[in-house]
């Protein structure tokens, strides 16, 4: 059986073509344009060498901060979602009443539009009329009522907290599936040997979940680095760029006509992701049957 005849290449052509034209080529073009002074104000393009990259990394403007903010957002939300997701997964995998109700509830935020979640929390966190502060005042904890999204020192933490609220249930669901895939017999054997709950978790659950945990971390990192909707809805980068992440910054640069700057910081992320992306994809596609 001749494989190239039975499985013709043109079966794959449409998908590969559209993906290449609208995803890969703009990325590669972007790297090229990063070496120019492309803007909305001049019809001419000049080659400027590494000037744009130097401008990003020298720290003379805020560009580097948008990148570090994005990385910080990714690290904090990934850590928190993994830790909380694991905690809830362990609690909700076995021996608990109405577990399907709890699981369904916790998973639900991850099917809703991220933008809508952001808008709802913007209302809840409104300092004057929002539910959170109204509630805190009602139970006499007025001191805790903060200007959640307005206070420069609190805003970024608040944005991350909302995102953790949104994403933990999804990570939990993946980890529950991982825990349920561990054969019961291991836990039974450990219980007979007198292992307590903590020991069972440390010596059985955690090692057996390694692959699933690796995948959830990869998914969280990919999500975090590309965050836009959540920040755009909650603060749009404010107050004073305190919560500015890469994609919100690019959007502003686009509307100001600063194309070269926008494409440069996009390309920094693109190159970074292609390099680490290769290892990430290896983790995601590991364990597949190879004939």
């Amino acid at each position: 059986m001749q494989k190239s005849k039975v499985y013709p290449w043109y079966f794959a052509i449409v998908s590969v073509l559209i993906y290449t034209v609208l995803s890969v080529i703009p990325g590669l073009l972007g790297i090229g344009y990063s070496f120019t002074d492309w803007s909305a104000y001049s019809p001419y393009l000049n080659f400027v060498g590494f000037k744009n990259f130097i401008a990003v990394f020298s720290g003379e403007n805020d560009y580097i901060k948008y990148i570090t903010n994005t990385l910080w957002f990714t690290v904090v939300t990934t850590t928190a979602k993994t830790f909380l997701g694991l905690l809830f997964a362990v609690a909700l995998s076995r021996n608990i009443k109405i577990k399907n109700f709890h699981r369904g509830m916790l998973y639900m935020p991850s099917v809703l539009p991220i933008l809508v979640t952001g808008l709802v929390f913007k209302s809840i966190l409104n300092p004057k009329t929002g539910f959170l502060n109204t509630f805190l005042r009602a139970i006499g904890l007025e001191v805790l009522a903060q200007k959640w999204l307005v206070d420069p020192n609190l805003a970024f933490g608040t944005v991350m907290a909302v995102d953790i609220w949104r994403g933990t249930g999804y990570i939990m669901t993946l980890l529950i599936a991982g825990i349920l895939a561990i054969p019961d017999i291991y836990f039974e054997a450990a219980a007979i040997d007198g292992a307590n709950a903590w020991q069972r978790f440390k010596f059985i659950t955690l090692p057996m979940l390694r692959q699933t945990l690796a995948v959830t971390i990869v998914l969280n990192v990919i999500y975090g680095l590309k965050i836009f909707d959540m920040v755009y809805a909650l603060t749009n980068g404010g107050p004073g760029h305190r919560t500015e992440v890469l994609y919100t910054a690019v959007y502003k640069m686009m509307s100001k006509g600063l194309y070269a700057e926008g494409t440069t910081i996009s390309s920094v992320l693109f190159i970074f992701m292609v390099i680490i992306g290769f290892f990430m994809v290896k983790i995601l596609t590991k364990d597949e049957v190879v004939e």
Binding site: M1, K3, S4, V6, W9, F11, V14, S15, I18, Y19, V21, L22, S23, V24, I25, P26, G27, L29, G30, Y33, A91, N95, K97, K99, H102, G104, M105, L106, Y107, M108, V111, L112, P113, L115, V116, L119, V120, S123, I124, T129, F131, T134, A138, T173, L174, A177, G178, A181, T212, V215, Y232, A233, Y251, M254, Y259, T263, S266, F270, M273, V281
Partner: protein
């Protein structure tokens, strides 16, 4: 023995407390949106969990009219529906060839496509590309963009399912005189049904919830999908929580219904990639 059972009791109690605490964190915002959606204008100055004095159902019709939700509902249906159909149709064919060929070249091409799950979009040059192709501010443009964005995961997901169909089946069909196209259409595709539904539901969900592509590429409001429509509604009616909450419910209803109907496929599909064995 007494010690163990007491220990176990504390453990179960802790688990339940934790589970209820976590669920409440989701239930409270949900209730808040539902209750406020039915309140009168004056009642929603402060957001709270009190029941509406009078349940005002007409908030919904007000929002549908003022927010032009019918139009954006059909736009969203078109973008997510057509985007899903072409992504899954062509993605399944591509996944099938990648999975069966397993040559060096095809393996590299598969990696190239799957890398798309990771690489970020450069919106600046994408805008230029879209203008060059004459696709800005068109429905076709958004649909093709959705296809480009969703193809990597779709191919990845279906690839795994194709590997589970024995190759002997193909061999038997070819010996019996089946053409390559007939082999795919009559034998392979029907066996991929559950994979295709899973990929389709996830793709639809992602397209429905997407916000950035319309924000960048759809300038006329009559082309806006529901996400973009609610964002602008929010800007216009800020502080009218009752109307905003009704709009939130209407925007989320389609995905929530899909979630309730297809929970098995959604959760199954999202875990399929992560958990193997």
């Amino acid at each position: 023995m007494v010690y163990t059972s007491k220990n176990k009791f504390v453990q179960i109690l802790l688990k339940n407390v934790l589970a209820w605490f976590a669920s409440m964190l989701v239930i409270i915002p949900l209730l808040l949106v539902i209750l406020n959606a039915f309140k009168a204008d004056g009642e929603t100055l402060n957001m709270n969990l009190q029941l509406p004095k009078e349940w005002i159902v007409s908030n919904f019709s007000t929002v549908i009219e003022k927010g032009k939700l019918m139009r954006s509902f059909f736009n969203s249906m078109l973008y997510a529906g057509a985007g899903t159909l072409i992504t899954v149709f062509f993605g399944a064919m591509a996944a099938y060839v990648f999975s069966r060929r397993r040559s060096k070249g095809m393996g590299a091409l598969y990696m190239y496509v799957v890398l798309g799950m990771v690489i970020p979009v450069n919106y600046v040059t994408l805008t230029k590309t879209m203008i060059t192709l004459g696709l800005t501010n068109t429905s076709l443009g958004i649909i093709l963009l959705y296809m480009a964005m969703q193809t990597p995961f779709t191919v990845f997901l279906i690839y795994g399912f194709v590997s589970k169909i024995p190759v002997e089946l193909d061999e038997a069909a070819i010996i019996d005189g089946c053409s390559p196209l007939a082999l795919y259409v009559r034998i392979i595709f029907p066996m991929l049904k559950s994979a295709v539904i899973t990929a389709g539901v996830l793709c639809f969900l992602n397209c429905w919830n997407e916000f950035m592509m319309p924000l960048y590429f759809l300038h006329s409001s009559e082309k806006w999908p529901m996400t973009l429509a609610i964002y602008n509604f929010f800007g216009q009616y800020e502080m009218k929580w009752n109307l905003i909450c009704s709009d939130v419910i209407l925007t989320c209803a389609p995905v929530l219904i899909l979630y309730l109907l297809c929970q098995k496929y959604i959760v199954g599909g999202q875990t399929a990639g992560a958990v193997k064995g």
